[in-house]
């Protein structure tokens, strides 16, 4: 079975990471675009949220797909990290990185931070579980007033700070990940200035700006 051939090889595991990573990239871009409707006022934002909920089974199919992608992505990351650890039992006293980027060197720990963020974020805005501590005191979580939930959350400075820092990690993760997935899948053509390098930079920066704009705008009182 080809899936097993992939699962058993370091390159195959990395290919699984690339595919699941790209699924998450597509989601993240769509999620950002959807969220930017917060700037268009409560009517638009809450109508959008109501529309998503109205899709019923479709929403659940998408959710299960995203959870599966995340689980596979993290599992492969964990397994490859174990293999990497075993590959150099005695480390150098001195090793000087020559060309690797900050983004590439923070993929593992940045990924762990993103995982923590993802869990927190779902408990914050989807289920409302941590809403009482991570929003304005006294405000109630509402399943219908998504707009209001966002405003209440980001008027709290530490919540805004946490989200902005998480988006910095996402910027780094995407800067390396979107580029490296193209290479992992063997889709890149030899070039000194490859197109996928530029596209990945644009994706990383746009996603970072788009997501960060909302909490910052709330904190500054632009969105009320």
């Amino acid at each position: 079975m080809w899936a097993l051939t992939l699962y058993r090889s370091t390159i195959g595991k990395k290919i699984i990471m690339a595919v699941t990573g790209l699924v998450l990239v597509v989601f993240v871009i769509g999620h950002m675009a959807g969220n930017l409707q917060e700037f268009l006022g409560p009517a638009r934002m809450n109508a959008y949220a109501a529309f998503l909920k109205s899709t019923g089974e479709l929403l659940w199919i998408a959710r299960i797909g995203l959870i599966a992608a995340t689980v596979l992505h993290v599992l492969m990351a964990w397994q490859l990290t174990q293999i990497k650890r075993a590959a150099r039992p005695v480390d150098y006293t001195k090793r000087e990185p020559q060309v690797s980027t900050l983004a590439s060197r923070t993929m593992r720990w940045g990924g762990v931070f993103l995982l923590v963020f993802i869990v927190f974020h779902i408990l914050h805005f989807t289920t409302g579980t941590v809403f009482p501590i991570a929003s304005q005191p006294g405000d109630q979580f509402s399943h219908t007033d998504v707009y209001g939930n966002v405003v209440s959350a980001f008027r709290t400075p530490w919540v805004t700070a946490f989200y902005v820092v998480a988006m910095l990690f996402l910027l780094l993760h995407l800067f390396h990940g979107a580029w490296s997935s193209v290479r992992t899948l063997g889709l890149s053509k030899p070039s000194d200035h490859p197109l996928h390098r530029r596209i990945s930079t644009v994706i990383a920066v746009v996603v970072w700006l788009g997501f960060s704009a909302i909490p910052v705008a709330v904190l500054l009182g632009v969105i009320r």
Partner: protein, 258 residues
């Protein structure tokens, strides 16, 4: 120039090792790095001490025997050169130089700076060849090869198997080496019949040897004395993926036992 060396000394494969300090005095900037070590070794021998063991052969960057981690950089500070091609003018008087062997589970230390790179040979043995009856070579122009393919294949074939890519990789991955070997054959007509079987078996051997996976840090191509590009890794992954998923039928070469 006068230098302080901190050299990894390890009497044997299972013996305990550690960094030991040596003074390298009156070193000429025109010496190669290995000649500097030769001088240090002569003085050690005169004092009745064990000389520092290191691999070397051609001393002109073509055999792939030499290689050590010099101040945390595989093959030292100058780009596109093997340790034997590094000159002492790359250092300054009074410098301290830390010298360690390649570090990887697949490269066990034999003695001091000498490691066993048999793992790379076993990756080649797993498929880094073409199965063709030998005999007198046929006319060079009887099989046309597009210029770009010939050039790209030649660039990959420049790999001398020194292992610097593994040594420099934070994951201890042999992807640049294996990718180079798979690319250099896979780009040529002669490499086509076994192209996909080759990708599967060489990658499998690479994993069996206990090398890490590639996360595209890019440290390997910076360390490579032949400046082989990480593009060969993309090519390896492409061939591997196609081989694993679509199981392309092997094209028979025809003739013989058919």
């Amino acid at each position: 120039m006068n230098l302080t060396l901190q050299v990894w000394r390890q009497p044997g494969p299972t013996a305990e090792g550690g960094l030991k300090e040596y003074k390298a005095t009156d070193v000429s900037p025109d010496m190669s790095f290995l000649e500097m070590l030769d001088v240090v070794n002569e003085r050690l021998i005169e004092k009745g001490e064990m000389p520092i063991a290191f691999d070397h052969d051609c001393r002109e960057g073509i055999c792939g025997s030499c290689g050590m981690m010099i101040n945390g950089v595989a093959h030292g500070p100058s780009r596109g050169t093997a340790t034997c091609q590094l000159h002492m003018r790359s250092f300054r008087d009074g410098d301290t130089i830390v010298i360690e062997p390649w570090r990887a589970r697949a490269f066990p230390v034999i003695k001091d700076l000498v490691v066993n790179r048999g793992a790379l040979d076993r990756i080649i043995a797993a498929g880094g060849y073409i199965t063709a009856p030998t005999g007198s070579a046929q006319d060079a122009n009887s099989i046309p090869v597009p210029k770009q393919d010939a050039d790209a294949s030649m660039d990959a074939a420049a790999c001398i198997g020194c292992g610097a890519c593994v040594a420099a990789c934070p994951n201890g991955s042999a992807s640049l080496f294996t990718g180079a070997k798979i690319s250099h054959l896979g780009l040529l007509p002669q490499g086509q019949p076994e192209r996909y079987r080759r990708a599967l078996s060489m990658v499998a051997q690479m994993d069996i040897e206990g090398f890490g996976g590639c996360t595209l840090f890019g440290e390997c191509q910076a360390a490579c004395p032949k400046e082989i590009s990480i593009d060969v890794i993309s090519r390896m992954n492409r061939d591997f993926l196609r081989a694993a998923v679509t199981k392309p039928a092997e094209r028979s070469g025809g003739g013989g036992d058919g």
